[in-house]
Symmetry: C2
Subunit: 400 residues, 2 copies
């Protein structure tokens, strides 16, 4: 009797905890706070005028199907348009191979549900995308994290993990401009990853939300494009190339897997919103999204350059950071003794009004406290420089 207690919850509820990022983001909107925490795309880059025209044309008499139910797999024309873009990116496919998802996040949720029983092992990069851990946790997996360097996941270390670990079901990677490190996996490592996945009969979950935000360096083949055995699930998102508020992403997978993912999608939420899918299809069909993306890159490239130059100028010795060729993030490593969460709470926020994301929650296992993810997106130049400067000053005091 009495009020429902924790004991009534399912076991998976124990694995569901508040996101450190979302807590900080509550602060981010407050005046006087400079946030490097979000990783939101720059809202000034959203194609507002084009979307206005698209919704204006969609919401007209005789067009009620834009507000009606549609197929769980997604609007057929949007699937076809996404398939064409994926084909152009070296992954030949048709509309049937594509599942529209509620942002990239849902692709993570559905893939974990399809492959991971409680106690199965998911291998991640070290560090890895926090949101993926949040998506995977309800499936009650165990984790093994694999170290990275500037070529991405260390595939020798991966091989060692696969040789010595039972029940590995998934290898999760963000190969392009990873969240949180900004690192990109080299072509040699991509090939080796595919070989190892085949040798050890494991599924690879390739997550590519930042792939098209490329500021320098060549475009590398996706892991999916290197796979010949249908064991790679490839995820993408419109959030960074169009707008996150539409909540649209996609999954590309071999038919047997795609069909099961679609059934799990049906179970989870029936379908994506028809209206937004119609709008995205109209955008892809009627506008030049490649030109739109190309038009965004100078802004992000400039913000990245400014962030890296500011870190170089204002951060004291003993601190290192990654240099991202794309995406929205740099990963900062402080001397081993510095607990970034405590430093932020006790010093950085009260004395400088600056927030970052302390690194601990990005580790699937054996967390390290002396890191932070810093996003360079969407912070005006002066605020960015000033925020880094104030942060550098406090770090200098703390580290001497």
């Amino acid at each position: 009797m009495g009020v429902i207690g924790m004991t009534s919850f399912a076991r998976r509820a124990e694995r569901v905890q508040p996101s450190a990022i979302r807590e900080f983001l509550a602060l981010a909107g407050q005046p006087g706070i400079t946030s490097f925490a979000g990783g939101y795309p720059d809202p000034t880059l959203f194609p507002m005028r084009e979307l206005h025209g698209i919704y204006d044309a969609l919401l007209t008499d005789g067009n009620a199907s834009a507000l009606q139910y549609t197929a769980s797999e997604g609007l057929p024309e949007l699937r076809a348009l996404v398939a064409a873009r994926l084909s152009a990116d070296g992954m030949p496919c048709t509309a049937d191979d594509v599942l529209i998802t509620q942002g990239g996040q849902q692709g993570l949720d559905l893939t974990a549900k399809l492959f991971v029983d409680a106690g199965d092992v998911i291998v991640t990069e070290r560090p890895t995308f926090l949101g993926a851990l949040i998506a995977f946790n309800p499936c009650e997996p165990d984790y093994r994290s694999v170290p990275m360097d500037d070529e991405g996941m260390d595939t020798d270390a991966l091989e060692q993990v696969l040789r010595t670990t039972d029940r590995v079901k998934l290898i999760y990677t963000v190969p392009d401009y990873q969240n949180p490190t900004g690192r990109t996996m080299s072509l040699a490592r991509r090939r080796r990853l595919v070989e190892l996945a085949q040798e050890f009969d494991v599924v690879v979950l390739e997550d590519t939300p930042y792939r098209e935000l490329r500021y320098e360096g060549e475009r590398l083949p996706t892991i999916k494009s290197l796979d010949t055995t249908g064991r790679v699930v490839h995820l993408g998102s419109f959030s960074k190339i169009l707008a996150p508020g539409l909540r649209l992403g996609w999954a590309l997978a071999t038919p047997e897997i795609r069909e099961k993912l679609a059934l799990l999608k049906l179970a989870a939420d029936t379908q994506n919103g028809t209206l937004n899918m119609r709008a995205a299809a109209a955008y892809l069909g009627g506008y030049d999204i490649e030109g739109h993306i190309a038009g965004m890159l100078p802004t992000y490239r400039h913000q990245r350059d400014l962030m890296l130059a500011s870190l170089q100028e204002h951060f004291p010795p003993g601190i290192t950071w990654t240099r991202a060729n794309g995406g929205l993030f740099t990963w900062v490593t402080f001397p081993a003794g510095l607990d970034m969460a405590a430093f932020q709470r006790d010093v950085l926020i009260p004395q400088a009004g600056v927030i970052v994301v302390p690194g601990t929650p990005f580790f699937a296992d054996r967390p390290e406290a002396n890191h932070a993810r810093m996003s360079f997106s969407g912070v005006p130049d002066e605020r960015l420089v000033d925020g880094v400067r104030r942060m550098g000053r406090l770090l200098s005091q703390a580290l001497t």
Copy 2:
């Protein structure tokens, strides 16, 4: 090695099967087919003009936040507006108590995830909403179904189930104009259900997508409004009162539960689409949704009356059906020997071009083949009468 096989899938994947409804719906759009299968709301009733004006105003310069990320729990102003409507419906609450979901379906998914471990028992009505079974199945529950009559779930039979069954975690009910039967649970039964849930320390999942489509009879208190111990999770949806293509619903629950549901929502898909939430908030805030709903009722009431009169006129003796006071459905029961799925496949579709939903998949356990769900929504009058007439003729032939 080789292609991923079924053996690689998680155990829950075995519980994920294609929906019988969605298969039939593929036929529904074809010319010459009269579909009583869908249960889609009537698209001519969507407030197209109002939504056009709302999106027109939202997608303007300076309003980029409509396309940006927002809170996982949902847009604060939409939560507040939903809370005000729920409060007016006898469930006093604030914005904090409300979680915005991706349609009603996601509320089913999240609630099952929160409470149901593999092997736990969910009690359902007999028959029950097929989509709920689809949502629950990935949690690998066992089911016990409880007979219904014209007052809804038989609470004496429910008590018997609760007394004799271990590990019951959830009682799932659609108390208002149930899908698929159109039945409404009486006030006495609602009270008794709450008593039993307290006595046996079980959570009630109250699903109310049709609650506001009331054609006759008084509005009964929700089960949530009768509960004093915080053990009812109340779900609702904008799909039938605004438009399904926006994919917006809500969950109302006690803070401890609501918080966990929000974390599972974050894990599943981060958030609902910001733009659609802004639009729904603008609609609730700027237009008269009660008037809009009241304006839809005569159309649905007329369609229901026409369906019931047509069944009476054209169906042969030995067939019975429910009389719904609201919602979109009637539940037809044929003589025990008739397998409706086979009859539809072999006779009804090829000879009459009529589709219904055969009843088997609406049973959580011990399925019966001699039922069908028929929706009266969205079929033009002449087609409706003609479809029922042709169906009746074939049934007369089959049953003599």
